[in-house]
Amino acid sequence: MALLVVEDLHKRYGKEEVLRGVSFELERGETKVIIGPSGTGKSTLLRCINRLTEPDRGRVWLNGVEVTSPRTNIYRIRAQIGFVFQDFNLFTHLTALDNVRLGLIRVKGMGKREATERAMRELARVGLADKADAYPAQLSGGQQQRVSIARALAMDPKLILFDEPTSALDPELIGEVLQVMIELAEAGMTMLVVTHEMGFARSVADEIIFMEKGVIVEQGPPEVLFTNPRVPRTAEFLRKITEFYGESG
């Protein structure tokens, strides 16, 4: 069984059906990138996977455990799924170190010294060991996002969900965050990434999922989607977004 199995997810906000039956799988060590126009349910999909948003219908399994079952301890599941938000969402009252350490101490019950060592290791991994004592408001957007990646990594996640991790960043800060993500992918982390960075999608993704209006239009390896998509709408979207954002990333 794949590490993550998503089956027929539905979510409706009032009259608007944001997800209309989404199914896909993610293997261990795989990186999948979800692309698609704004408002097509990409963020909602990520949040339904760890039930930050409750799906109306459909099922999710992580490592063979049904996430969507009411009997599942959802807190234990969430601790195994890293989540990186578009606007970082670091805890504003805590230093970078405490942001990374909080989950280790409160959720994993780790001792303070061990948690500090682990947190420092993750901060070093994203190149921010020297910023351990800085508060989020003292960091640039790119640095904040790297701290938030360190916060996710510290929990030893089986999978990390990235919700447009570079969309809130100034162009010159995007590269440092993408670099960290590329290194993670190369190190074998399982990642599901919503992004408009086509360069990243093309070079890092094992598969690309193109979503529109709450459904998956097409999915496949980047070389197929970018050069020879099955659905005309995919080609149209890719052409538009590449014009707008460019190839690099």
């Binding site: 969430r78 938000f85 969402n89 805890f91 504003t92 009252h93 508060y135 408001a137």
Partner: protein, 230 residues
Amino acid sequence: MTAVDWQNLVQGVPSLLSGLLINLEILFGLIALGFAVGILIALVQVYSPRPLAALAVGYEWFFRGVPEMVLLMLIYFGLRQFQVRITPFVAAVIALGLRSSAYQSQIFRGAIQAVGRRQMMAALSVGMTRLQAIRHVVLPQALRLSIPPWSNEFSSVLKDTTLASAIGVIEVFKKARFIMGRNYALALPIFLVVALFFLFLTYAGNWALGALERRYRIPGFEAKGAGERF
């Protein structure tokens, strides 16, 4: 003022100070009660399901809507009808404390909502329970945001402690009236002294709150000048 008036005034000050001590005791009691219940009401209003939240809204409406003097009467004399006998001091702490809890609840609710849902979501995403997220992420930020509006409530309830005289608590206002009763020439000076006491306490309290605000400010996050008025 004659020499005898001056003498009476000076002799009255120790008595006033012992009365002021009672005001301070009421103040600490009512603030502690109001703080604990106020946070609880705010959390219930923001986070709990509708029936319970509605109950908290009803509580807040009642204790913000009934005049304090009436609350004092209801709790002190009203409870006596049910054979519940409490001292005027305890009745004052309860009545003023519950009233303050309703006002404080709205300070905390505003602050919790200002922290925002994203902080809660981030805390949940690392596996914290809602209670852990409230305890370690939401409240530490919300309490910081609460200090400026809370200093309003502090300044207000500090003075409200004199209302306890209405149910027979012998505090500073009552003592001042005793002194005035013995010598009407002291009406102006004795209440000026009481006024000075409260001006000083308001200053001291707000200075302490300003110091607290500076102590817990988040580097890089605060607006310039926050907590630096004193």
